[in-house]
Subunit: 260 residues, 2 copies
Amino acid sequence: MGANKLHWRVVLVRPRNPLNIGAAARAMANFGLRDLVVVKPYAPVWQETRSAVGAEGIVERARAADGLSEAIGDAALVVGTTAGSRRNLDRDLVPLDEFSSWLGSHRSRAANAPKRAALLFGSEKTGLSTEQMSYCHALVRIPTCADCPSMNLGQAVAVCCYELARAGALDSDLKNQARATAGRPPAKVHLSDPANLQPLERVLERAARVLDDVGYLKPKSRSATLVKLRRLLLGLGLTNHDVKILGGVLAQIEWKVRSP
Amino acid sequence: MGANKLHWRVVLVRPRNPLNIGAAARAMANFGLRDLVVVKPYAPVWQETRSAVGAEGIVERARAADGLSEAIGDAALVVGTTAGSRRNLDRDLVPLDEFSSWLGSHRSRAANAPKRAALLFGSEKTGLSTEQMSYCHALVRIPTCADCPSMNLGQAVAVCCYELARAGALDSDLKNQARATAGRPPAKVHLSDPANLQPLERVLERAARVLDDVGYLKPKSRSATLVKLRRLLLGLGLTNHDVKILGGVLAQIEWKVRSP
């Protein structure tokens, strides 16, 4: 159990109904999670929501992010949530009630277990898009019925928070601390730690520039190819050291390609 | 697992916010429960609620009941839900994640395992009252944090439905059938089956009349004493046969006491 404990950040991707932000915050408070980030909220009125009873602190500290990469921040494990099983996915689709054992085996495979993780919830109508899912190391499936698979967003957050608490997957040392990353110095980077998403994204951006320059990316398939590349990079389980080297290699290639 | 399977009825006791009725129905639909009863809804406008996406059938079949006893109906096992542990309770207080094993041991103790059960949720502000709890064979505690114990009603229903589904405590033969009891003939009563709440309530009413007549019940403590009596009766694990005998005995006493 202890080996599976993580600091969990809840990321709501473009929620349409501000009430759901408050509902998510309340469910988090009920089960001891504290760190909420909202990507591009349609109406950033969460301060006033009624459903945040008892979760005012979480709503106050919640951050709005412009993009998913910024929202994920220093989380070295990213897990998406999905109700259905309709998409043909090229990664682990873990039933929610088996999530804790999946976490255990994932962390035992990793040379250095991540300490921070992000749990992603898609927009109410559509869930996570394929592009948003490409940021995820795994997808967790809430085992809903085939004839009514889609959950209310606040209820989905509640069920997932309950399961994380039930399975002992919350780091209780961390869970009672306000850990909004805005305004605090970045955590010290250890080269042997699993790479965070942000340096990986910078590597991907550089790779995209290089592949544009050499004519590898075609306009029609460009975004689909980049999604595949992100999946490939995530799947490699790179450390910060690996990412640093890869970044250096790409910088050198970019310099060469762009030099007259 | 199979031995723990039951047909679960969800009973909302005096919900104040009609949106929560729709939210409860949707969570039920997500996890395969169908049977919803609402006791004295403050505003019976659940037909229009937006949150019942995908659960229209459940909302349509949902019944309004005047009292808790009517709502519980033919359920032979009654379980209340509570967030806190503040009340000093004289019955099993089962953590939600241990509910399935509790069910197993409860059913193995009973000579004839009940087939239908009711799960009670109290009003948003107050939860279940002591009087309402006195109808319950057990109370299930949702393991929320001490600093934010109270859950949103719709989210509490979602977490409990998820747990029942996860633990394999739903009777899948029954769960896909519309089983609103209104308008259908009562199920056949087997004398060796565990007593349903309604005949027990009639016995309790008769006992109250007798105890009033003989001056046992004092105005000041009357309702508290009746709550204790209900607890006592429920705790005996009577069969329908026992209840029939007890009813006969009390009828005889009542006749004698009232005869001039």
